[in-house]
Symmetry: C2
Subunit: 497 residues, 2 copies
Amino acid sequence: MLESAEIEHSVSKAQYKRALPDLRDKLLNAQYDLFRSGRGPVIVLLSGVEGAGRSETANHLTEWMDPRHIRVVAFGEPTGDEASRPLAWRYWQAMPPKGRLGIFMNGWYTECLAVHQDSEIGDGALEGRLHAIRRYERMLMDEGAVLLKFWIHLSKAQQKQRLEELDSDPQKTWRVTKRDWKAYRIYNKAHAFWEHLLRETSAEAPWVVVPGADEQYRHLTVGRAVLAGLEAAAQASRARPKKALAARVTTSAAELPDRTKLIRDLDFRRRLSEAAYSEQLDLWQGRLAEHTHAKRFRRHSLVLVFEGVDAAGKGGAIRRVTGALDARQYVTVPVSAPTDEEKAHPYLWRFWRHVPPLGGIRIFDRSWYGRVLVERVEGFAAPADWMRAYSEINQFEDQLVQAGTVLVKFWLQVSKEEQLRRFKAREHTSFKRFKITPDDWRNRKKWDDYELAVCEMVERTSTEIASWTLVEADDKRYARIKVLQTIVERLDRALAR
Amino acid sequence: MLESAEIEHSVSKAQYKRALPDLRDKLLNAQYDLFRSGRGPVIVLLSGVEGAGRSETANHLTEWMDPRHIRVVAFGEPTGDEASRPLAWRYWQAMPPKGRLGIFMNGWYTECLAVHQDSEIGDGALEGRLHAIRRYERMLMDEGAVLLKFWIHLSKAQQKQRLEELDSDPQKTWRVTKRDWKAYRIYNKAHAFWEHLLRETSAEAPWVVVPGADEQYRHLTVGRAVLAGLEAAAQASRARPKKALAARVTTSAAELPDRTKLIRDLDFRRRLSEAAYSEQLDLWQGRLAEHTHAKRFRRHSLVLVFEGVDAAGKGGAIRRVTGALDARQYVTVPVSAPTDEEKAHPYLWRFWRHVPPLGGIRIFDRSWYGRVLVERVEGFAAPADWMRAYSEINQFEDQLVQAGTVLVKFWLQVSKEEQLRRFKAREHTSFKRFKITPDDWRNRKKWDDYELAVCEMVERTSTEIASWTLVEADDKRYARIKVLQTIVERLDRALAR
């Protein structure tokens, strides 16, 4: 992929001067169209050979357009808050909202490129990383982002010439660091790696290789490609059929029993006496407190997901968990309607915001599973969107677990009769009335659809590393103890390792 | 303040049971009224003697109300991202938006209480901290927050009894830590400190001392006070006269020359030749690069504020600064309309979000001074709000500088004639047309009002630690070099220390 970029490419000063006003004009207009359309975002990823002039090109782009709508970001050694969270966290944090342009220096290739340079990454780890990158880019594009990846290239001779030019100018020598010369010395070895990297990550979001030796050629080429990308983003149609298709994937009552066996087989008669409950509550709360205060816990974090049918007792279960925790360690994250900042980002962004650092605990009262539950059943998300959510969620949870998170997911289920009983009781207790809304009654009518969505969710996202625990919740005492015990047992295993 | 709380207070189980349904009912309604009103937020700060049952009370509050609109937060040892920023940063991050309820365990008193326990704080430092707390609470209240501060108290005998009870129950002994017993041992010494702390921070946001020995008494007392606070918050009127008063504070042309001498005395003829510019640009960029790469810089951070009249060349000056920086270190923060999350928080919240960690650089393209410039002149902020902004800003900047930030603030000024020339030039260059809007022409008509606002801003916020640099910007080359040189010289001084 790189040979042709090593041949001389150039644009004369006169050509450049002639071309520029028109290009700037169009870039600006396209940037405003993008902003007004609220589509995108457009991500310009600038990578390439050290000394090839990425920063200058980024500076030109911000000069040519309105810098107030551009976010330029680069990533160094992970800082404290970055290092104690999954690798991808900082890339999620830096993502610009829809309508904006992001210029990412190396972006999520930072680790691959840096680690390779220090020869510390094994082939297996590299392939795993490239695979994660492909899935991340796929997700971004599915969410409407336009990715423009540029590899600014120099041949070995060109790199040497460039570094020497800078180094010999006493006013500019500060631009050349030891790191640059080190990069030059391993050029040949790196070249094969770059070829591999570009090939392996070009299938869906292809790299554009830009010859970097001639400054004007480089600026114009990138500028024109960014223009094309901006125009494509602003014009892209995100309109997708919603309700119509959603209906098609709900199922007929006849095939339900088989596909919802998981829930129908639950034994709702399980019960715990008050005495047994009180004793076990103290027992499991004590062990939970021990675990979360243990020194070893600082190398982990704990993420609890609480989902369940209406009136299943999520709140009560959560309070029995937090009753055993140090308030300094945990945060409860109630998930309701997204804010406008959240709506302007890919779906999972609002959950990535709350990923805990090592030693931290986050309790999600409802979660990222909303997409394959309520959004699916109510038709708020297009089928294409909630269907791809399963694998995006699996990938998200995989990243959490790899970073040391103990992830425990609960589905609290009550029988249809018990739910009715609780709804009615809530209507009769004035201070519980807020817990029962017309929505609850509406959801109840869709009981079968929800049951199907839940079973499919559990099937598709109960992975080895992040299994679901189904909790029979007709008896609140039984349910609370099962929740506590499950968390403690998962911590037993994780901390023993 | 504490004696009366050490006397026996109690509520019988029967009384408690009778009172509860009504209280819960009212609490819920008040919570929803607050949510709908979009006022507040209401901050419940729970502090007090170790073992007095703060956590249980917090748990009850979340059980009695809708936990989805409550944020419970507690603060431990500062984590990596917290430790590398000003002390107050984490309290700003944790602030719930308007319409919500926050329960803060110890809140911004965490350091005072912890540090005192470890006897590491001097009297001077303590008084400084208490002063900062008073100003912070004043600001929160001015922004519409309702503060409810509870000191849950126990006498020494009560504390001992409570700890012993828990410790002797094999199932509950985990609730008692070494820290609790340590707190007990220094009770007498602490008692005097608590009295001082409560007295010194009660003038504007008074503490409510709650006897903690009887659980039911404690829950009911806090619950009722929270109810009163919620009701007060939802009903508070935030309506303030805006435009009318704003007009009163603009000034007559006659008194202008004197009050805007600062700007009128600037020498706009200062110029730099192209040759001198090119040489000095390399020089100062080189020194800036050196400074920001230096090891000593990691104990500092750099915050640059760029304000100026329209068309003064802020963008160009910023690009000459970023041209010398490593993209991994800096982030440019363009300040435009706030998002809805930002609008739901106190004014400075949106800037606290971007406070850099040690070693980081943030460049603000417009800033928190918007309140005393455009918001003042256009009447977007009530006079009471922009007038108090001066001291809030000074406090904010003081906190930055104390945490190691080098803060450099630029006001770029062009003469009225030069601005006109640039406006016209922009209208004739198609790709610069985005830089000139009807707003710019409107602002120009208010030239005198802005001049006055700028001079007052400089006077009131050019403090010893955070002085303004006025930049004569009729010649862009001169202005850019002055900006770079000023930054370098400020870093010279800071890093030499």
